[in-house]
């Protein structure tokens, strides 16, 4: 029997089509733009400048901007406000004090919204609006980094009061209620915050570091154990939450059980695969159609924060040491993507409000303050990693 030319051609065509489909759909090019320390510094400066240049007199940040419609977003979110303040203080803690004035103004805005919740605890919220644990948690983080920068102990009592509020929200298994009602004067039962648990974990871990020996570590560890072992089932999460706040918390508190170590290795994998996927998003064509537009700046930044936190932790935790180089590589990739995608002076020149464009990360024409918040924190960690490589 003879193989016909047509059959042979059909086989070859099937191979070629298969390889093309495999390349386009499953294994597109992963591009991590290079970014040196100068580019990282410039990106950080531009993003922080965006935050403080567009800050109101009362310390409130511009919440967002739609450059396509030239429209300022009038909404506001106190958790994101506290997060941006924290990012500015993180810069100050690394010796860059250009942003202290803006960060202090941001704290002043929060101080006006402090409400007592009983038993020496305070939360931060607008009148008659439920307080979120995330606002308290990220305010603690901000004040922790302020203290690292200035060391004046000015807000130590407020940090403790906010910490007591968080502890008061913890339920026995380590779950933490996400909201507190000023109307009832009590936590809102059965309501949890998606990111609040990790934020509170990190905040309590920071308090344990700042004020050792008074029990903050016990509270933090109960939440950490819950995150690592029970949260996914308890909060009905189909997929594990890629929780960069939890990574921050464990980086601060360390690992205390094999279960936590296993969780962190899985979390590192989650951040890794998300970074690899994000690095395939570029340009146009069928690949862009398949993979959608670039992720939010906040999303990419949060990836970097998670990777950076685990990279820091891997330096001291033997169970993660084998991942450190890979974490470094992915963090560097995230930083390159952020630098490449940040709006620059050229983008701003075409805008009626260039100050609301330059230094920001836009997705489908819009930016929010947390795009800059998360990106600044991530780039700062990437800078630290780059310095580490330079030092050998």
């Amino acid at each position: 029997m003879r193989v016909t030319r047509g059959r042979w051609t059909l086989h070859a065509a099937a191979w070629i089509a298969g390889i093309a489909a495999f390349r386009i759909v499953l294994t597109p090019a992963e591009v991590c733009p290079p970014a040196g320390t100068d580019e990282l510094d410039d990106a950080i400066t531009a993003a922080a400048t965006w935050a403080v240049t567009n800050q109101e007199d009362g310390g409130r940040f511009t919440y967002g901007y739609d450059r396509d419609g030239d429209e300022v977003n009038d909404g506001y979110n106190l958790v994101r406000h506290a997060g941006m303040v924290n990012a500015l203080y993180q810069l100050a803690a690394e010796g860059d004090d250009r942003w202290l004035e803006g960060a202090d103004a941001g704290v002043a805005y929060l101080l006006d919204l402090v409400v007592e919740t009983g038993d020496g605890a305070v939360a931060i919220t607008w009148p008659d609006v439920d307080a979120k644990i995330g606002t308290a948690a990220l305010t603690i983080a901000a004040l922790h980094h302020r203290e690292q920068a200035l060391g004046d102990g000015r807000h130590d009592e407020l940090m403790r009061q906010l910490g007591r509020f968080l502890v008061g929200q913890i339920e026995p298994p380590g779950t933490i209620l996400g909201f507190w009602s000023p109307v009832t004067g009590a936590p809102v039962p059965g309501a949890y915050a998606k990111f609040g648990t990790g934020e509170a974990f990190w905040a309590l871990a920071l308090l344990a570091s700042d004020f050792p020996g008074v029990g903050w570590d016990d509270a933090a560890r109960s939440i950490g154990r819950y995150i690592a072992t029970e949260r996914r089932q308890a909060e009905d999460q189909w997929l594990r939450q890629p929780d960069h706040w939890a990574a921050y918390g464990f980086a601060e508190l360390g690992v205390s059980s094999p279960e936590e170590l296993e969780y962190l290795r899985l979390l590192a994998g989650d951040f890794g695969v998300m970074t690899r996927f994000e690095s395939t998003r570029q340009g146009s064509g069928p690949g862009a159609w398949l993979r959608g537009p670039d992720a939010l700046g906040a999303g990419v930044g949060a990836l970097g924060e998670g990777l950076g936190s685990l990279w820091r932790l891997a330096a001291d935790e033997p169970g993660l040491a084998d991942l450190r180089d890979d974490l470094d590589e992915r963090l560097t990739c995230v930083a390159g993507l952020l630098v490449e995608r940040q709006a620059g002076a050229d983008d701003a020149a075409d805008s009626p409000r260039p100050e609301l464009v330059e230094g920001a990360w836009f997705r489908q024409g819009a930016t929010l303050v947390d795009d800059q918040q998360h990106s600044v924190s991530a780039l700062l960690m990437a800078r630290e990693a780059a310095d580490g490589r330079a030092d050998g």
Binding site: R7, W15, T27, G269
Partner: protein, 175 residues
């Protein structure tokens, strides 16, 4: 995945039972030469995997996911669909190459499995697995009942699906 698992995956993806069924009646000398040719090409695929992926800007871990998905898909098809009719065997001096080495023996899933192993730093295990599978083809040609080979084909396809899922999980969990 460890070396053993990658060797099994490469062996399953080589699908020796399918090849035995398709090559029934082919000259044994052609099958031997074709198996050697397929093995050589498979070795090349495994050894150049890392370089090739790097040139294409594909991280190995991402390749494992893509390859695992395809391997699982092909495996599922092989479980569900019966092995097709006899592969027509060419006459002439080059029949060991076409169609014996290609397309019967050198299969896309075999190449993917070997490249995945090559980028996993376990190329030798996978090469050994594929070599054993090709040896089974040579030794089993025109022997045994077709029904036994069909059952074996489904069994190895099921093994391929399981190991391919493990490969995907490896890729997802890797940083």
């Amino acid at each position: 995945m460890n070396g053993w698992a990658l060797a099994l995956l490469a062996a399953a993806a080589t699908a020796p039972a399918v090849a035995v069924l398709r090559l029934a009646g082919a000259p044994a000398r052609d099958v031997r030469r074709g198996a050697v040719a397929a093995a050589v090409l498979g070795v090349v695929a495994a050894l150049v995997a890392t370089t090739l992926l790097d040139a294409l800007s594909i991280e190995p871990e991402s390749f494992w996911i893509g390859a695992g998905i395809v391997l699982a898909g092909i495996g599922l098809v092989r479980i569900v669909l019966p092995v097709g009719g006899w592969e027509p065997v060419a006459e002439g001096p080059w029949s060991w190459l076409v169609p014996v080495a290609y397309p019967v023996l050198l299969r896309p899933d075999m190449v993917l499995a070997l490249m995945a192993a090559g980028s996993h730093d376990d190329a030798l295990w996978a090469i050994a697995g594929a070599a054993v599978a090709l040896g089974v083809v040579v030794a089993g040609l025109d022997r045994g009942r077709p029904s036994v080979w069909r059952a074996t084909a489904r069994l190895t396809a099921a093994l391929q699906v399981v190991l391919a899922v493990a490969l995907v999980i490896d890729g997802v969990r890797a940083v």
